[in-house]
Amino acid sequence: MSTQTFDMAAIESIIAKRKSMPGALLPILHDIQNTVGYIPPSAVPAIAEGVNISRAEVHGVITYYHFFRQHPAGKHVVQICRAEACQARGCEELASHAKELLGCDFHGTTDDNNFSLETVYCLGQCASGPAIQIDDDLYARVSKEKFNRLIQAKRGVQ
């Protein structure tokens, strides 16, 4: 991962802006992930210093929450809801299909680095599953065909 580059100055400015708010750590981590796409492990010391806790504690928080990434994701993140309401509407078949179509497993990224595939437990679309999210966009009632179309469209606009 040594070839990964990110803007440390942007991270420093996020820390400076947020550090004095009560309970600043999660807002800082969200902002960093929003800006950089993930939370670089090498940013941990600066975060720890900013909010005046140990590096171990920062690391503990980053690794506790499913939402935070320590490595960059693929160009597009595909999240498939696999909670009960979507199970009742066939999400497991869709999940198998997605693995096959993309050629990677859950929590994995495709070889061409175009897609990361993730499980999510509930997108709040429980009456209209299976529900998925690609990057920031939600899709409900996703059949295999609809999934293929959505992925194809993303491939088209790389």
């Binding site: 969200h30 009742a88 429980c126 939600l138």
Partner: protein, 517 residues
Amino acid sequence: MTFTVFVPRDSTALALGANETAAAIAKEAKARGIDIKLVRNGSRGMFWLEPMVEVATDAGRIAFGPIEEHEVAGLFDADFLNGGKHDKALGLTEEIPYLKKQERLQFVRVGITDPVSLEDYLAHEGYVGLKKAITMEPAAIVQEVTDSGLRGRGGAAFPTGIKWKTVLGAKAAQKYIACNADEGDSGTFSDRMVMEDDPFMLIEGMTIAGLAVGATEGYIYVRSEYPHSIANLNEAIDNAKAGGYLGDNILGSGRTFNLQVRKAAGAYVCGEETAMLESIEGKRGMVRAKPPLPALEGLFGKPTVINNVISLSAVPLIMSRGAEFYKNYGMGRSRGTLPMQLAGNLKYGGLVEKAFGVTLRELLYDFGGGSESGRPIRAVQVGGPLGAYMPESLFDTPFDYEAFAAVDSTVGHGGLVAFDDTVDMAKQARYAMHFCVAESCGKCTPCRIGSTRGVEVMDKIIANQNRPQQIRLLRDLCDVMVTGSLCAMGNMTPFPVLSALNHFPEDFGDQPMATAA
């Protein structure tokens, strides 16, 4: 003349193409030289009809749905703006039986107003409750909420007024209102709908709570999976502040209440109130031991009211119409209405607000229309991943906290997920344990280790390895988890597991247990 056309901005509508439909309507109207005002309202909660397009007429709003982008030109061809004939015409929205049969007290504005328009909110009984509360003594506000019989809608059903009274009585320089909007239970979306489709109702409820207990700061802890909720809440908070309904001098009263949204980070257990507090404080979302009660030592160690979105947003209605009005709905000790969420394999999934007392069967069949797959409904999980699976024989149970508890089930947050007869209940039991493995905070052993052992035991049962012994072991393990876990995560995971085993023993290769609870 200008026609007013409504296309929802609720995230389910968006997930089904509402933005594309709205853009097509704007484009088509322009091309045809028709003057329209396009309002992005909330959803009425009839999700099988989304994107649902409405047009304001003298007789009331008329609806068409579901309308996809490519059907928009056809709508104009059919002269839908003047109520023209179209095969997706639904008539007057308010007359659609699914809506008409409901008792929408709390969700009265949802789907009707533009969610972030303060003007719209005020025109629909918004802030009447706050205006009344601001003239009252704090203890009188707390008494009104107590008298309404409102109980915590997040699942624990603790009387809201009692909780407020504890915080009111606590002496501290700073107190907080913390709204638990970490709606992680599958099959639930009523919090999401409030935040997306009527956020002012929650903001008003929290402001009243602040006045009632003497808190000047509020936090809304919202799931990271709900970006639309976060955006709408922030926009509504800004508008409320600009209108003088939030900030340092609320409605010129000299009273202060400030509100901010905190984004969660995907940990289910942060829906547990003390884990949520830890998370807002910037820590791992580990459950705290109680006592001390959060009402006395909560957020940043200060007295804190923690309520769910639906509980807090019931408060404006209780204040504006009075405790008596609210209390007159419901049954037994379950007063008022509950916004129930019909999810999973149902033909007509959506939001149904009814007074307590409605039965599961009415919800599943009269509202839900039975399964979407057309197969018999075999099991319904009520109350999220920690809720029991209920078989057909229990479908006549009325929604009432005590009636559900009597059959070892829980109303929870009022979400129900229907499964047809293709469901394998042993797999669902395994999933419940697996979910607990993934989401346990790890603080207590019964939950952290118990769930892992639970998955292993379920795997053996599914693989038909010494089933009678493994089933005994599973029951024993569940007993340890129920009695020994620190919070609901560990001590309710056995609910789905044991209910699956007791009501559907054939899926576990077990003999039916007539006496099993």
